[in-house]
């Protein structure tokens, strides 16, 4: 007989399961609304948005499976926004916010919060966060590597009401939109967020009608308790102790050199305390304010926990976090510039946390995923005379990390998005913008070597039609490769890296740092993304799997030899079994020279 595990007994388990389903359906329908109505390509093609439900406390009661970078920061952001207005929250209000000083992620991620009232009482919040294509400031799309302060990056929106007791504040909406490029897109996305929040509200009120506030509240408390118990059981499986991880952030163009982020996970019984130590904040857009850093912490934790959905704030009750001293890279304060923070340094922080958990539970943790190294494009469309600007999501699709079960997925990253992005159809992009996409494909030899190979990164190559195009490169993974796990090692680390190549007549330039540059018709920009990390020792990978990768053009013949010890015969068609056995024996004894 199994032990009874339902102990709280406040809500019967059937009603509990039904209410859980209703919350999931609500979040799903909000997401669907955004996907179908979003206006900018970042919204409607890339799904760069997230929805969540909060209770009155306000604690997160349902986290969608959208973008990990958004969701962690929503937990403190919701509390900051509700705290700002205090008693001044009324039925019909809609609040908007992007400011990292109030726990936002970066200012491009604008978040709408709608309090849901029932019989005059605040019961829920429906929350919808999305990446707008522009937020004003000197550089289209917001990524301004020259900014020394947050004031030079774009429009900060501290918590502000867009609807006040049911009345749309056209003056405020107009103020915001007047500060953004491509106004019609931004207005469309704002409407889409409003639609999502309302769809959520409609469903939640139906749920309250059916079960009443008391039962629904009790069920939600129980759902959080269940998540808490589960996370505690996972933490308890780790021996008590202090586990250290660190990851190095490359110099993406600030000239301050590489920066090291350290994480320490202290496990005691069923709790874990995560402490971050990072260097002082820098006058470059890679500083992470506290809200954004929480996303990195939670993602690193989830790469260990691998918990199936649904998610709520109870998961994190046994996790305490200290982001280190104020004014450091991962706990930045005004006036630190920050727009790149959702990828850099967030992914490096995630890696540091992941490494700490790898030290604690070596078998369980997966290899890291390729970090984001992408481009934004901007210019004047010669057909319409209108300015366009967009972040090219296809340009940041990297390889996923291998796991203890299988090779990493190709083209599923970056780490910060964890497969939630959608890069958009190339014909839709070519229809929307005056460009030719010459290549969107997998990159040979980019997947990390291992018993299980990391997923391949991608290459995205573009040429402008009839106009000069501005290319704004951002990110990292162009100097330091993706981390493997469980003994994985790259003998050819150079091939795993991302880079931006500019090809002009008689000129081939490779950028491994952030840059703003322009190209003309007849010239091409080629952005390469890193692959995912491998898992386990490469020379343990069965030769037939390496052969298959070679046939499919994912691994080259020389990389098969150098990284995997699989030697091909002179015509490159068949594996030389004897030479392979000898090479692998040598590797097994000596390792590989990275």
């Amino acid at each position: 007989m199994t032990q009874a595990i339902h102990t709280a007994g406040r809500v019967d388990p059937i009603t509990l399961a039904v209410i859980r389903g209703a919350l999931e359906t609500t979040q799903r329908e909000m997401t669907l609304t955004l996907e179908k109505t979003g206006r900018s390509s970042v919204f409607n093609l890339a799904h760069d948005y997230s929805n969540a439900l909060f209770d009155h406390l306000p604690e997160m009661i349902l986290q969608g499976q959208d973008i990990p970078i958004h969701l962690g920061s929503l937990i403190p952001a919701m509390k900051a926004v509700a705290g700002f207005f205090g008693d001044d929250i009324h039925e019909g209000d809609v609040i908007y916010h992007n400011d990292p000083a109030y726990q936002g992620s970066h200012i491009l991620d604008c978040c709408m919060y709608k309090p849901v009232f029932y019989k005059g009482e605040l019961v829920f919040w429906t929350v919808c966060k999305g990446h707008l294509t522009d937020i004003g400031g000197p550089v289209p799309a917001g990524y301004n590597p020259a900014a020394k302060e947050i004031y030079a990056e774009g429009l900060r929106i501290p918590p502000v009401k867009l609807w006040d007791q049911g009345r749309r504040r056209d003056d405020v909406v107009n103020l915001l939109l007047s500060n953004m490029r491509a106004r019609r897109d931004q207005e469309g996305d704002l409407n889409a967020q409003f639609g999502a929040c309302r769809v959520g509200e409609r469903n939640l009120i139906a749920l309250l009608d059916k079960y009443g506030v008391d039962t629904v509240r009790a069920a939600i408390a129980e759902l959080k308790d269940m998540a808490d118990r589960h996370m505690r059981s996972l933490i308890r499986s780790i021996p008590d102790g202090c586990y250290h991880g660190e990851a190095v952030l490359e110099d993406a163009g600030h000239g301050l050199g590489a920066l090291t982020i350290r994480a320490t996970a202290t496990v005691k019984d069923d709790t874990v305390h995560i402490r971050v130590d990072s260097p002082p904040q820098v006058p470059y857009f890679i500083n992470s304010y506290a809200g954004n850093s929480m996303s990195g912490i939670y993602l690193g934790l989830m790469m260990f926990a691998q918990v199936p959905p649904p998610y709520n704030e109870g998961l994190y009750r046994c996790v305490s976090v200290d982001l280190g001293a104020k004014g450091t890279l991962c706990n930045a304060v005004e006036p630190a510039p920050h727009v790149n923070c959702t990828t850099t340094p967030m992914e490096t922080l995630t890696d540091a946390v992941r490494m700490a958990f790898e030290a604690a539970a070596p078998e369980r943790v997966t290899a890291s995923w390729g970090h984001a190294s992408g481009i934004n494009i901007a210019g004047i469309n010669p057909a319409t005379g209108e300015q366009y600007v967009t972040m090219v999501l296809a340009s940041i699709i990297s390889g996923a990390g291998a796991t203890r079960y299988m090779d990493g997925w190709h083209a599923c990253g970056p780490l910060c998005c964890f497969g939630a992005l959608s890069s958009g159809d190339i014909e839709l992009l070519e229809y929307a913008y005056p460009i030719i996409i010459h290549r969107y494909g997998l990159q040979e030899d980019s997947g990390g070597a291992g018993r299980y190979r990391g997923g391949s990164g991608t290459v995205w190559e573009v040429e402008p039609i009839g106009h000069e195009m501005t290319i704004i490169a951002f990110g990292e993974g162009r100097q330091i490769g993706t981390m493997g796990a469980a003994g994985a090692v790259d003998a050819l680390p150079e091939r795993k890296l991302g880079r931006l190549e500019i090809n002009k007549p008689g000129e081939h330039i490779v950028h491994r740092q952030n840059v703003i540059t322009t190209i003309q018709p007849g010239e091409r920009a080629r952005n390469v993304n890193p692959g995912g990390g491998g898992y386990g020792q490469p020379w343990q990978r069965p030769a037939e799997e390496v052969l298959r990768d070679v046939r499919n053009g994912l691994v080259s013949i020389d990389a098969a030899a150098t990284e995997y010890g699989v030697i091909f015969d002179s015509c490159g068609q068949h594996v030389d079994a004897a030479a392979t056995a000898a090479a692998r024996q040598r590797m097994n004894q000596q390792g590989v020279q990275a």
Binding site: M1, T2, H6, D12, P13, I14, L16, A17, V18, G21, E29, L32, K36, T37, G38, R39, S40, S41, Q65, P68, R184, G195, V199, R202, M226, R229, H230, M303, A305, Q306, V307, P308, P309, T403, Y405, M406, W409, H410, A411, C412, G413, G419, A420, G424, D425, I426, E427, E430, Y431, I436, I437, H438, R439, Y440, L442, T458, I465, N552, G553, L554
Partner: protein, 694 residues
């Protein structure tokens, strides 16, 4: 019906269902075990049963059929089991990987799952060959086609013994010349190899969708071609009057000569006939908004028809392959009689998606299953008759059902077996209700405006609870519920969809020449196809729709439009319909913002006359004879058993009215009528269930 009979053959994975409709006569249902290696053996076995039942030779039955119709899972099974043919893909250089990149997305629900595998690839990367030559979004040629690339690829395909070639180039939808030339070269150099082009299979914007759809078609069509040839020959040898018609995923019939080149149009052939069947059954009640629900052993299929119109899905993932062509929208959930109730990692009760299947099956089957399933719950609640015998061999063991529920659900949750059984029932109902929300509320329809049509053997025990959960007031349960799809096939029309793309801003002053030309072209091609098939012009219907969005949106709303020449006035009507649809779906519209028209669709239907529904004699008093004792049942979580009357469906006649709580046992299904509901049997052989208050 022009002849005495019409035959519908729905070849499923386990059973092949037969419906033989007779002019002014009864509807006869038969079943035989499916024979996937050669479908004709199952058909021969079914025909033999008919011959015995009618005392008439098989050939005479076939010769007296005006139509023989076949719904088949051949394409579906080949896709599930990855048993299609070896495919080579010719694609635009630089875009060889779009079907493997899949827009860089990992499916929801598996984000942190370290063991969830990538989607299967129908064409390995080494057989995806790059061809230089580039068309731009306006249809202009940026780079000439490189025929050497094609010839080199052909040599690779020859060496690799590729049996099928898919050709899909970027923007071929705007300029087909490169694809046509590539096709010529492949046909010339690889005779006997199947070949298809993106601009023919899915002529709409979206390269990934088009390439994926074309690859799926190339992968399955040779398999479908062999099947069609075998079935055509089988019926021809029996002296069939007309060519066999095959059931398509779009809800219409097609000739074998069309099917063999477009297997992608047949991948969900089975459940696609459900909405047609539902509408037909609802017609005598004056109802034309229906949601059909079909619960089998492992899955639950839902379809919707509004205002007599079936709903189509386009550009979506089917078995993890992106499919563009329109298919009847079928929501399929892992919620069947065999779905397993378990406690998840958080300690919460969940039902499904894992199923005990047919073996070992639910615990109550006594075949070694120890998990508690939905069927075990229904037996424990008294809905199923204890010790009833299924399929001649399985005896339902109530003690085993209760034992499995106690061990797997009641004890871990510290609740009674009764409460646990009711909980399993409640949760599977919630899952099904959420599935119905996806096909109704998420598509902008209110389920309360619809009647639920009950299909499949297991649905009847959940149907009134499901209706309560959704606020639905009317439920229809046909006596033929267990063969609804085969029935849907014999009442369907021949139907072909034609697609085109013409991205443009739509407003009063817009130049409509191109739109009118494309519509006229699609319509005349369809009329020709149907005319060649022997349809009179009066029996042909054309239906047009367009896909629209606000400028800059990516997802479109489908809007039906009137036939004939488009004018400025019709543009106003189209725009108004679009704004209204957007508002219904997403709570707002933007009438002041510009609107873009993207895709066009023209559907040509060849009307086939329909067999009539049965006509039962009227006798409201038949319930006395049909009454078959009482059985204790549970209808809520109070643990209070209710002595519930049970009726034999085969003894009930038209006009019988049964007030819940009650159960009606038909030969292949049981209908549970919860308190507050009543059932009335209509002469057409359908129970109408409605709310009832004392």
């Amino acid at each position: 019906m022009k002849q005495r009979f019409r035959l519908g053959v729905d070849a499923g994975g386990t059973f092949t269902d037969f419906v033989l409709a007779e002019k002014d006569g009864p509807l006869r249902l038969f079943k035989s075990p499916s024979t996937p290696d050669d479908g004709t053996r199952a058909i021969a076995a079914g025909l033999q049963q008919m011959a015995e039942a009618l005392d008439m030779p098989v050939s005479q039955i076939v010769q007296n059929c005006d139509l023989c119709i076949n719904g088949t899972t051949v394409a579906l099974n080949a896709l599930i089991e990855l048993k299609g043919v070896k495919v080579g893909l010719l694609c635009t250089a630089g875009h060889e990987d779009s079907i493997e990149i899949r827009l860089g997305h990992k499916e929801e629900g598996y984000r942190y799952d370290a063991s969830y595998p990538p989607a299967p690839q129908l064409v390995p990367r080494q057989l995806r060959r790059a061809v230089r030559g580039r068309v731009l979004s306006d249809g202009s040629v940026h780079e000439a086609l490189n025929e050497d690339d094609i010839l080199a690829a052909i040599e690779v395909f020859r060496a690799e013994q590729v049996q099928s070639v898919a050709i899909s180039f970027v923007w071929s939808v705007r300029n087909q010349a490169h694809e046509r030339r590539a096709r010529e070269l492949v046909e010339q150099h690889l005779p006997g190899v199947f070949v298809c082009c993106g601009s023919e299979v899915y002529p709409q914007v979206r390269e990934y969708t088009r390439t994926s759809t074309t690859v799926v078609n190339a992968y399955l069509s040779p398999v479908m071609g062999r099947y069609v040839q075998r079935i055509d020959q089988f019926f021809a040898e029996l002296g069939a009057r007309a060519p066999v018609r095959y059931y398509q995923s779009n809800g219409g019939l097609a000739l074998g000569t069309v099917m063999r080149d477009r297997a992608v149009n047949a991948i969900n052939s089975g459940p696609a006939s459900a909405p047609q069947a539902g509408l037909y059954i609802a017609k005598p009640f004056g109802i034309d908004n229906v949601i059909t629900v079909d619960m089998g052993g492992t899955s639950f299929d839902i379809t919707l028809a509004k205002g007599g119109q079936t709903q189509l899905n386009r550009n979506f993932d089917f078995l993890r392959h992106r499919i563009g062509v329109p298919m009847i929208h079928v929501e399929t959930l892992g919620a069947g009689g065999g779905s397993i109730a378990h406690i998840n990692t958080f300690g919460m009760l969940e039902v499904g998606p894992h199923s005990a299947g047919a073996t070992p099956g639910p615990a109550c089957y006594g075949k070694g299953g120890e998990q508690a399933t939905v069927t075990d719950g229904n037996l424990a609640l008294g809905y199923l008759r204890p010790n009833a015998v299924l399929g001649g061999t399985i005896r339902l063991d109530q003690d085993k059902a209760r034992g499995a529920i106690a061990a797997n659900v009641a004890t871990p949750l510290d609740i009674s077996v009764e409460k646990a059984a009711f909980g399993i029932n409640t949760l599977v109902n919630m899952n099904m209700a959420n599935g119905i929300r996806r096909i109704s509320i998420e598509q902008g329809y209110d389920p309360r405006d619809f009647a639920l049509i009950c299909a499949g053997g297991a649905t009847g025990m959940h149907i009134t609870a499901l209706a309560e959960e959704l606020g639905v007031e009317t439920v229809l349960v046909p006596k033929s519920a267990s063969c609804l799809c085969a029935f849907g096939q014999v009442i369907s029309d021949v139907k072909y969809n034609f697609l085109a793309s013409a991205p443009m801003r739509l407003h009063r002053e817009a130049d409509l020449t191109e739109l009118n030309r494309l519509f006229a072209d699609m319509e005349s091609r369809g009329r020709q196809l149907l005319q060649d098939d022997g349809f009179d012009a009066v029996d042909v219907r054309a239906h047009r729709s367009v896909e629209m969005r606000y400028m800059g949106q990516i997802h479109e709303c489908t809007v039906d439009i009137a036939g004939g020449e488009l004018t400025a006035a019709s543009v106003d009507a189209i725009l108004a319909a679009f704004h209204a649809r957007h508002e219904a779906l997403f709570t707002y519209s933007e009438p002041h913002n510009p609107v873009e028209l993207v895709n066009l669709e023209c559907t040509l239907t060849g009307l086939v006359d329909k067999p009539s529904l049965p006509s039962l004699a009227h006798d409201a008093d038949s319930i006395r004879e049909a009454h078959d004792g009482f059985r204790p049942m549970l209808f809520d979580d109070s643990g209070r058993w209710v002595e519930t009357p049970v009726y034999r469906g085969d003894k009930l006649l038209a006009g019988s009215r049964i007030v819940g709580p009650a159960a009606i046992e038909e030969p292949t299904t049981t209908v549970v009528i919860r308190p507050g509901w009543q059932a009335e049997l209509h002469a057409s052989g359908t129970y109408k269930l409605t709310r009832w208050a004392e």
